[in-house]
Symmetry: C2
Subunit: 263 residues, 2 copies
C-alpha cells in the first residue's frame, strides 16, 4: 500500500504557524520523520494560513523546503489549478495531484495537467453537487473518469480514485459501501485505476479515532485499497497496515517485517 503522509498541511496548527513564520525547519522535520516511518508520498497543503492569492507562492516554497531535505515524491493537495501549477513547476519527481472532482469540466482541466507534468491524479467521486453516496453511482462515475483519462491519454494506473469516506457516525453504511467499491473497481478495466482514501475522515467526531482509523485501514487493504492519505507517524496505524500486507503475502514475513516495510 502506498502511504501518503498527511502532516504537511496548513490545517495543522504547527504547519500553519511554520507557513506564517516562513520557518521551513518545521516542514523539513515532518518530511524526514514521515519518510522514515514509511511514507511513499508527502502531502503538501497550504491550508488557509494565507490568502488565495498567496497560495501558489506558498505552495512553491513548501515544495522547495521539503525537497531540500528529502527525495520523497509529493502529493500536491489543492483543488486550484494555479496552486497546483506552482507546485508542479517546482517538483523534482513525478507528483500526485490531489485532487479533482469528477464533473466533466474539471476532468477536462485536471487530466491534461497531469499528462503535461507526468503526474498521477486523484479524482474524487464527488461533483459540484456533493459526494456520491452509494456503490452504483460511484462505480458509474469511475467508468466515466476512466473514459476521460483514456480520451486525454492518461494511463489508468496514474489515476487514483478517492471514493470519499464519510465519518462513520454520520452514515454507518458507508464503510461497507467503500469495501464494495475497492473490490468492484478491480474488474472495471485492465489495469484498473488505483484507489485511495483520506483515511482520517472515517473517525471525524468520534471517540476512539486511532482504533477506528486502523480497523478501517486493515479492512480496506483486505478489500484491495491501494493507497491512503494517513497519519504515518501513528505507529500502531502503520504497523496494522504493514501487518495486513504481510498477511496478504504482499510483504515477505520476517521477524523484522515492520521495519522492512517502512523502507
Amino acid at each position: 500500500m502506498i502511504a501518503v503522509g498527511e502532516r504537511i498541511n496548513g490545517m495543522f496548527k504547527d504547519v500553519k504557524k511554520a507557513i506564517r513564520n516562513k520557518d521551513k525547519a518545521i516542514l523539513q522535520d515532518l518530511a524526514i520523520r514521515q519518510t522514515k516511518e514509511g511514507a511513499k508520498y508527502l502531502d503538501i497543503n497550504t491550508g488557509v494560513a494565507v490568502t488565495p492569492e498567496e497560495q501558489p507562492e506558498v505552495m512553491k516554497w513548501m515544495v522547495h523546503s521539503v525537497q531540500e531535505v528529502c527525495d520523497t515524491p509529493l502529493a500536491l493537495d489543492s483543488q486550484k489549478i494555479p496552486v497546483l501549477e506552482a507546485g508542479l513547476s517546482a517538483v523534482r519527481r513525478p507528483a500526485m495531484i490531489n485532487s479533482c472532482k469528477c464533473d466533466e469540466a474539471y476532468l477536462d482541466q485536471f487530466i491534461p495537467l497531469a499528462v503535461q507534468h507526468g503526474a498521477s491524479l486523484v479524482v474524487l467521486t464527488m461533483t459540484d453537487k456533493g459526494p456520491l453516496q452509494d456503490v452504483d453511482s460511484r462505480i458509474e462515475a469511475i467508468g466515466q473518469i476512466c473514459g476521460k483519462a483514456l480520451e486525454h491519454g492518461l494511463e489508468l494506473d496514474r489515476i487514483f480514485i478517492d471514493p470519499v469516506i464519510f465519518p462513520v457516525n454520520v452514515d454507518q453504511k458507508q464503510p461497507g459501501y467503500l469495501m464494495q467499491v475497492f473490490q468492484q473497481i478491480k474488474v472495471i478495466s485492465d489495469p484498473p485505476p488505483h484507489t485511495i482514501v483520506g483515511l482520517s475522515n472515517v473517525s471525524q467526531g468520534t471517540q476512539e479515532r486511532p482504533l477506528i482509523n486502523r480497523t478501517m485501514l486493515v479492512m480496506s487493504i483486505a478489500a484491495g485499497l491501494d493507497a491512503a492519505i494517513m497519519d504515518v507517524l501513528d505507529t500502531d496505524l502503520m504497523d496494522a497496515a504493514l501487518c495486513a500486507e504481510m498477511l496478504l503475502n504482499k510483504q515477505i514475513y520476517s521477524e523484522s517485517f515492520l521495519r522492512a516495510g517502512r523502507m
Copy 2:
C-alpha cells in the same frame, strides 16, 4: 461475531494446575472474566493434565464448575466421543462440539451426537491425512460436510466450518486462502454453514503475536468470518473485532460501542 473464549484449556499452565488440584475457583474466575469481556461461548478443554481415562470425568467437573458461576454456553473442546459425551451430559445450555475432522467416518459419528444433544458442531477441513491446503479442496470438503449434515438432519446453521489456520511464518499464502474460503462459503447453500477459526494459530512462533492476531481477525471479519476461538481477555483484540463489526454496520455506533459490544 461469536467470540469463543479460549482460556479454560489445560494447555495453559494455570488451568493445568487447577485441574490437578481440583481448584475450581481458577476456572470460575476465567469464566466470569471472559464472559464480562464479551465471550459468547467458553471453550472447555481438559488438555493433557490428566490421563485419557480420566478426561471424561474431568470434563464433567470443569463443566459443572463453570456452570456454578455463569450461564455462558460452552464449547466442549475434544476430538474424543467419550469426553464429549461426558460434557454434553452435564451442560445446561446447547453446547458447541469442538471439533471433528471431515473424514466421512468421523462425520457419521459426530453429526448424530450433535443432533442428539441439540449442539452445534465445529468441523475442521482436515482429514486423518492432515489439513487441506488450498481453497478448492477446502470448498469441496465443505460441500461434502454440508451433504452429511443434511443427511443426518443437522441444520447447516449449526455447523461451524474451521478451515484450519496455519502459522503465517509456515505458509504465507494461507491467510489469503482463508479470506477466499470465508467469502465463497456464503454461496454454498442458503443458509450457509458458519465459519470459525482458532485465531491464535496464525501467529504461532512469530514475534508480534497480538498485532498479527488482531489484524488477521479484522481482515477475516471483513471477509465474512462468523466466529473465532480467541483470547477475549486481550482488550486490543476484542476492541478490534468490535470496531470491525461496527464499521460493517453489524453493531450500532455509539460513543460506548466497545462497552455495548461486550454485553
